[in-house]
């Protein structure tokens, strides 16, 4: 074997590395937060100013997805007072893919009701975190989950900034993650709106092509023009753009700290957070709509 001396080895290594760097970068490689969604994907625009907390959406979801009977009737408003550890409001569970939360916001005449469910993000954190590829963002818009490959590690539950994936703790043999699927199997595939959208008496939710819903919001025809909300729920972890942080702030874990990060770099720097003028208690006239 021909002996190579150290100097030649290092020279060769440097040259090779430079060559790879010059030609090896794939054109496909993109930064996180750059997927704008499939072109014809459907979406649901939620106008929380219209929600009256009737919970018809919860009842409709329960029936559509064949979920077990709830612990309390769906017209029982005492569920809003139930608190989990840490004083947190109710969350999605294996028996409830969507729940309505109630907040008494100072300065607001009526309580604020908020429907919580999977936001079907364009770049889901759950999908990114799953090492067995159990999640899939369908072209129709729904983020689907395959229970047959799931290993039950629950990393997706940690990853989701909105604390949506629930776990079937009640099943000892085959526990799996449970969450809203936008009624994909029974409705979305056929172009029909999800059960909750159809059931809501106040038409809090509007179903349509996601790009049309965005136009509704930005044109002002919907209750509040707030494009940055869409940015946020579509790109959790605020990877690409500054924007409004969801009321249940994943970082502060408090129910009503709507904050506005003024720039990308300041998202993680709490001292730069400001009260979002749209949600701040003094100027609260409407909670922005969000799109999932």
């Amino acid at each position: 074997m021909k002996m190579i001396n150290r100097r030649s080895f290092l020279k060769g290594g440097l040259a090779g590395g430079a060559a790879i760097a010059a030609v090896g970068t794939s054109k496909q490689a993109e930064a996180a937060g750059s997927f704008g969604g499939y072109p014809d994907s459907m979406g649901v625009l939620v106008d929380l100013t219209k929600c009256v907390g009737c919970r018809t959406c919860e009842a409709a979801c329960n029936k559509e997805q064949g979920l077990p009977a709830p612990d309390k009737p769906f017209d029982d408003p005492s569920v809003f007072e139930e608190k989990r550890e840490g004083g947190l409001p109710r969350r999605t569970t294996e028996k409830a893919y969507t729940v309505v939360q109630k907040y008494d916001v100072p300065g607001r005449e009526h309580p604020l009701f908020r429907k919580v469910q999977c936001n079907h993000c364009n770049e889901p954190a759950c999908l990114t975190s799953c090492f067995v590829n159990a999640y899939k963002k369908t072209p129709e818009g729904a983020v689907m989950y395959d229970p047959t490959v799931c290993v039950g590690c629950r990393t997706c539950m940690v990853a989701c900034p909105f604390y949506i994936p629930a776990y079937s703790y009640s099943s000892a043999i085959n526990p799996v993650v449970k969450k809203c699927i936008m009624c994909y199997d029974t409705r979305l595939k056929f172009g029909k709106p999800p059960a909750c959208v159809e059931a809501c008496p106040q038409e809090v939710m509007t179903f349509g092509k996601r790009k049309d819903l965005l136009k509704l919001v930005t044109s002002g025809s919907a209750r509040s023009p707030m494009p940055t909300w869409i940015t946020c729920t579509a790109k959790p972890r605020w990877a690409a753009r500054p924007g409004c942080i969801f009321p249940t702030c994943p970082l502060t874990r408090s129910a009503t700290t709507p904050i506005w990060a003024t720039s990308r770099s300041s998202v993680t720097s709490r001292s730069s957070w400001r009260w979002c003028p749209w949600c701040s208690p003094s100027g609260l006239r409407s909670l922005p709509a969000f799109i999932c």
């Binding site: 009737c54 612990d71 769906f74």
Partner: protein, 177 residues
């Protein structure tokens, strides 16, 4: 009776008879009650007291937008719409679709690039937003069953009434319910 008196009497009678036609549209117009039941599935039909509401609303346009020919009461609407011709129908269901978000509905909206009010609510949404909107600000029934009682199918849907789950005695574990 003299000829002149007869003419006067005749004219007076004519005026009395035609009064309803020339009286302002406002005065107690429309049906006494309306049975709103086209969407009744989980609740019974609503017996809507139209006569009472004509007394509390400031104008027909308050509920019927500008379909009666009057100018809209909402200043946002008045920016584009003014008083004018009456529409063909003032019934809610003739403009608000009862199959909102269906494929046909979506196609109709998409296929009309001139349409401004793309976010027009469907019939169920229109009823509830219109009625509850006023009731919350002016004081009126706001509970679901205040206007329409739930039927048996509704009780099953809401797991309420005789379908209510038995109350659990244990407090439940954290994060499980």
């Amino acid at each position: 009776m003299g000829g002149r008196k007869k003419t006067l009497l005749g004219m007076a009678a004519l005026m009395l008879l035609t009064a309803p036609l020339v009286a302002p549209v406002w005065a107690g117009d429309g049906p006494g009650t309306v049975e709103i039941g086209s969407l009744a599935t989980y609740y019974s039909a609503v017996t809507f007291d139209h006569a009472m509401h004509t007394g509390v609303a400031s104008s027909c346009a308050e509920c019927h937008h500008h379909t009666t020919g009057l100018a809209p009461t909402d200043p946002t609407c008045a920016r584009c719409h003014e008083a004018g011709a009456k529409a063909g129908s003032v019934a809610c269901k003739d403009c608000h679709s009862d199959k909102r978000f269906s494929a046909e509905d979506q196609a109709k909206i998409e296929g009309n690039p001139q349409l401004y009010h793309k976010g027009k609510p469907g019939l169920k949404g229109a009823y509830h937003r219109k009625c509850l909107g006023c009731h919350t600000t002016m004081g009126g029934p706001t509970g679901c069953q205040d206007c329409h009682t739930r039927n048996d199918k509704g009780d099953a849907f809401f797991n309420s009434g005789k379908y209510a789950p038995a109350p659990t005695t244990s407090a439940g574990h954290g994060g499980g319910h």
